[in-house]
């Protein structure tokens, strides 16, 4: 049973893992976690080590919906990757596409519009990454509009979130973190809720500003509070082009 609506109010989503819409669906069991993490000794009481794990094969999960989402216009994007550079800059104080939580992937030999994709985190209504996290590091943070955020203190860099993300490239991914002496930590889009180098005193998050939105030279990224349609890409890849874009000689449909 699955329902959600597009209102701004707090949403409770009931979902079985085996009916999730996505490119990969995984039944994430205790046994699978033990295989991936390599950090829990077989035989240890998993429940005591991982008290917050949600056992999806046993029941239902309740994760509140995010109060913010990023939508992109893939046909408007000029491929400058400024969003990626802004993202790594505000989050980690460096410039690195490899540390960006939004990815622009392109091929200059391909024809428009197949030459480029923009892959942003969808702040999924049923976040597989949250459900997969064995330590509860990846959570819908109630203090930050239920944005799906990695708590790096709790993250053990197991990569379960990366494995669980149904999208390619996975929106959560692990990389060495200099703030933690090079340990692997997960990263994913937090709508700039926890960006230590945020330029605006009011900061980010659903009630603040996102670096990628601010920096995009052609306004091809938009922040919204309404929950986009979860199936397919239509909810997240939208048309942000108007008569001004037409005036520059570009298509608006």
């Amino acid at each position: 049973m699955h329902f959600c609506s597009r209102s701004n109010s707090f949403q409770v989503n009931f979902k079985r893992m085996d009916s999730m819409d996505g490119k990969k669906g995984k039944d994430f069991s205790r046994r699978n976690f033990l295989k991936i993490s390599g950090k829990v000794v077989i035989g240890t009481s998993v429940a005591t080590v991982l008290p917050n794990l949600i056992w999806l094969d046993e029941g239902l999960a309740a994760i509140p919906a995010s109060e913010g989402y990023l939508l992109v216009d893939v046909k408007k994007c000029q491929g400058c990757m400024s969003c990626m550079l802004a993202c790594s800059l505000v989050h980690e104080g460096v410039e690195s596409p490899s540390l960006a939580r939004i990815q622009v992937i392109q091929n200059s030999f391909q024809s428009f519009p197949d030459d480029l994709t923009v892959e942003q985190c969808r702040q999924c209504v049923t976040p597989a990454c949250v459900e997969a996290c064995p330590t509860g590091a990846l959570q819908a943070d109630p203090k930050r509009g239920n944005v799906r955020i990695v708590n790096k203190q709790k993250c053990i860099g197991c990569g379960a979130c990366m494995e669980a993300c149904p999208f390619t490239p996975s929106r959560a991914y692990t990389a060495p973190d200099n703030a933690f002496e090079g340990q692997l930590k997960s990263r994913k889009c937090d709508l700039c809720a926890t960006a230590p180098y945020h330029w605006d005193p009011a900061g980010g998050g659903p009630n603040g500003k996102q670096a990628c939105v601010e920096v995009c030279p052609v306004s091809a990224i938009k922040f919204v509070k309404e929950i986009p349609a979860q199936e397919g890409v239509k909810g997240y890849q939208v048309n942000l082009r108007d008569q001004n874009w037409r005036r520059l000689g570009y298509p608006v449909d």
Partner: protein, 698 residues
């Protein structure tokens, strides 16, 4: 080191040795051209060698801004080395390309690459972070491929079993992840066959067009350099960088909600439009997107639904002006990028051959049989044959041809071999190659700084710092539109920024009376210094900088002078003013002149083609028939048309003397003096000049 990776990659293709040079050794040059010139000076002992000599060092340098959010400043790679295109001497020269390479090289952990030697077989360089390999071309059958096929093959090889679109780990478990394709710069068949028209191509159309570097690489048996990096650029002040970017966009860049100037212009405020100069000003009537280099705030290229002419710009779109259809002209742009030939020389080289044919001269004198069928001129088959001819040095259809061989040796050398050089450079009616054997670009009899910068330097300057002014003024005067600002205001705004010469408005008086003055010498000097440092070393893009006169500002004053050092400081954390950059640019310019002096330069050879002295200008190709620039005439500033004049040879000689004195060079020879070099901390350069008997007299 904020902004820097810390190391420069040194590759010896002869020995196969790969080593590193610490960037700190050259940090005072900042990056790009300055660093490349200093490195070249140290690594190449005999500066008189030919560009094809294995000892020639080609550098590809980025800068602290590469791979950052600096608007129009994060994407350029500066290429340097002894070129093979200019005549009679292949000068130590430069070229430059955009796209993704400079940034990716930085992310891989390198501030540049210096390549020397010659491999025993065709090779390509595979850089994956700090893992660098020289690989033979044979296993991938790269040699013989056009530049696009070469890049795609390398992409697939680097990806291994992975597919692009997801995360890959190109350096294995040692390195990080990326979703990006390698940034590859390659030569096509033209470079492989050492055509002097050969260039370097990255992605679809990012070209290091001038200098014949494609042929230099071909002589080294070097097909391509591929780089993929998963690292970071350390930023001294991340918040300051982001704030500067946001404010710069807000205050000086195009505004989609308020498009004040919805046209392409070669400066900061331009709207994101592909810089297409197809015949008739046509823009392809197919769906398209703007395509920008990494980090740029306003694209200057495009990608199209029919896949033709992706990312082609500027002269790449001027080429084959007489194409029967727009589609054929777009295909011609793709051909020169795939085969890797310089658009400008192809453009004016074809024009020369066509005019020889039209005047019934192709079958006269010492000209070998021309295999081109002019009954098909304008067709796709014709241009394909011509591009192949220039690339392979044959008839363009796979058969030996002395004519084709001559074309591939460069148009100016072909004209010389055909016994036509002196005559055709005297009349200028067919061979529009006014300086150092290079084809014309702008009408230098109007935009005199363009001609001066070129002939006093090493190549067609291709620096559009003031070209937007010519367009703005010319369109205004010829079509009755309002210019951005009146002439006097434009001159005041611009000259106020030209430290340390600020205040001298006569620097921008382009009238006849001022053409050879010290004011003009100062203008030309400032332009050399600004471009040598801020555009070719710090690597601010020529299509977007400087920002002199900006229509989004109420007072029309652009951000140049404040913006350039602001971004550099945010990245590096170092105090470095705009004037510091101008002074470093002067140092770099002096080092370059020292290298040219060692190569054999003397003031006696610094002259335009004869036709510049005996024939009035009149516009070039797609340019306007008359070009308007500021002038002070009868005590009044206005924009005047200055194309219809020629240079006076005797007065140009006087101008050279004024210019050399301003530089602190020996006016008798144009050679640098010890005093000037030592004042610029170039004592080692003075020593080498003295040893060669080429130190200027004081």
């Amino acid at each position: 080191m904020n902004g820097y990776a810390g190391n420069i990659l040194h590759i010896d293709l002869t020995t196969g040795k790969i080593s590193t040079i610490p960037t700190s050794r050259y940090e005072s040059w900042v990056g790009g051209h300055g660093l490349g010139s200093a490195l070249f000076f140290d690594l190449v002992k005999d500066k008189t060698i030919d560009g094809f000599h294995p000892a020639n060092v080609v550098t590809l340098m980025n800068s602290p801004l590469s791979g950052t959010l600096t608007p129009g400043g994060g994407s350029r790679t500066e290429v340097q080395g002894i070129g093979v295109q200019t005549y009679p001497i292949g000068w130590f020269t430069r070229s430059n390309f955009g796209g993704r390479f400079a940034a990716m090289l930085k992310y891989a952990g390198w501030d540049g690459v210096a390549i020397v030697g010659k491999a025993s077989e065709p090779v390509w360089v595979d850089i994956r972070n700090d893992d660098v390999k020289i690989r033979p071309c044979a296993p991938l059958s790269l040699w013989g491929k056009d530049t696009w096929a070469c890049q795609e093959i390398i992409w697939d090889y680097v990806a291994g079993k992975n597919k692009y679109g997801g995360w890959i780990k190109p350096a294995g478990d040692k390195g990080g992840r990326t979703t990006q394709r390698p940034a590859v710069v390659a030569i096509g068949p033209a470079g492989e066959n050492r055509s002097r028209l050969a260039c370097l191509i990255h992605d679809a159309a990012d070209a290091a067009g001038q200098g014949g570097f494609g042929a230099v690489w071909g002589a080294k048996n070097l097909k391509a350099v591929s780089v993929i990096g998963t690292g970071v650029v350390q930023i001294a002040n991340p918040k300051a960088l982001l704030e500067a970017r946001i404010q710069q966009k807000k205050n000086y860049a195009f505004d989609l909600e308020n498009l004040k100037a919805p046209n392409f212009s070669t400066d900061f405020q331009s709207a994101p439009l592909p810089e297409l100069i197809y015949k008739g000003g046509q823009r392809p009537n197919v769906e398209q997107r703007p395509a920008a280099c990494i980090g740029c705030h306003s694209a200057c290229r495009g990608r199209f639904k029919d896949g033709k002419g992706n990312e082609a710009t500027c002269f790449g779109t001027v080429f084959y002006w007489d194409a029967q259809t727009l589609d054929i002209q777009r295909t011609a742009a793709d051909l020169i990028n795939r085969y890797g030939v310089n658009a400008v020389e192809m453009c004016f080289g074809l024009l020369y051959i066509y005019l020889l044919h039209n005047n019934g001269l192709l079958e006269s004198r010492n000209i070998p049989k021309c295999p081109l069928d002019f009954s098909k001129y304008g067709s796709e088959a014709f241009v394909e044959q011509f591009v192949k001819m220039a690339s392979y040095g044959d008839d363009g259809k796979g058969h030996a041809s002395e004519f084709g061989k001559d074309v591939a040796d460069g148009i100016i050398r072909a004209a010389k071999k055909w016994g036509r050089l002196e005559e055709d450079l005297k009349t200028g009616s067919m061979l529009w190659f006014p300086y150092w054997g290079m084809p014309v670009h702008k009408e230098s009899r109007a935009q005199i700084y363009w001609g001066y910068g070129t002939i006093l330097g090493d190549r067609d300057i291709n620096e559009h710092c003031f070209d937007w002014l010519k367009w703005d003024a010319s369109v205004a005067k010829m079509y009755g539109r309002r210019p951005r600002v009146p002439a006097e205001r434009a001159v005041k705004i611009i000259t106020d920024k030209m430290v340390p010469f600020q205040g001298d408005m006569l620097m921008m008086d382009f009238s006849d009376k001022n053409m050879y003055s010290e004011h003009m010498a100062k203008f030309v000097s400032w332009h050399r210094y600004y471009t040598r440092f801020w555009k070719q070393s710090a690597l601010y893009c020529d299509n977007r900088w400087p920002d002199f006169v900006n229509v989004y500002r109420e007072d029309r004053v652009g951000s140049t002078g404040e913006a350039e050092p602001k971004f550099l400081a945010a990245v590096t954390g170092k105090a470095f003013t705009f004037l510091d950059g101008i002074e470093l640019g002067k140092k770099i310019w002096n080092l370059d002149n020292a290298i040219w002096t060692l190569q054999g330069r003397h003031r006696d050879m610094v002259h335009f083609a004869e036709y510049y002295y005996n024939r009035n200008g009149g516009g070039t190709g797609g340019d306007l028939p008359n070009e308007y620039l500021p002038g002070l005439e009868n005590g009044v500033w206005d924009y005047f048309g200055y194309s219809r004049r020629k240079f006076d040879k005797a007065k140009f000689e006087e101008f050279k003397t004024i210019f050399y004195k301003l530089q602190g060079w020996d006016p008798a020879s144009g050679w640098p003096t010890r005093k000037t070099l030592e004042s610029l901390q170039l004592a080692n350069v003075a020593k080498e000049l003295e040893a060669s008997g080429k130190l200027g007299k004081e």
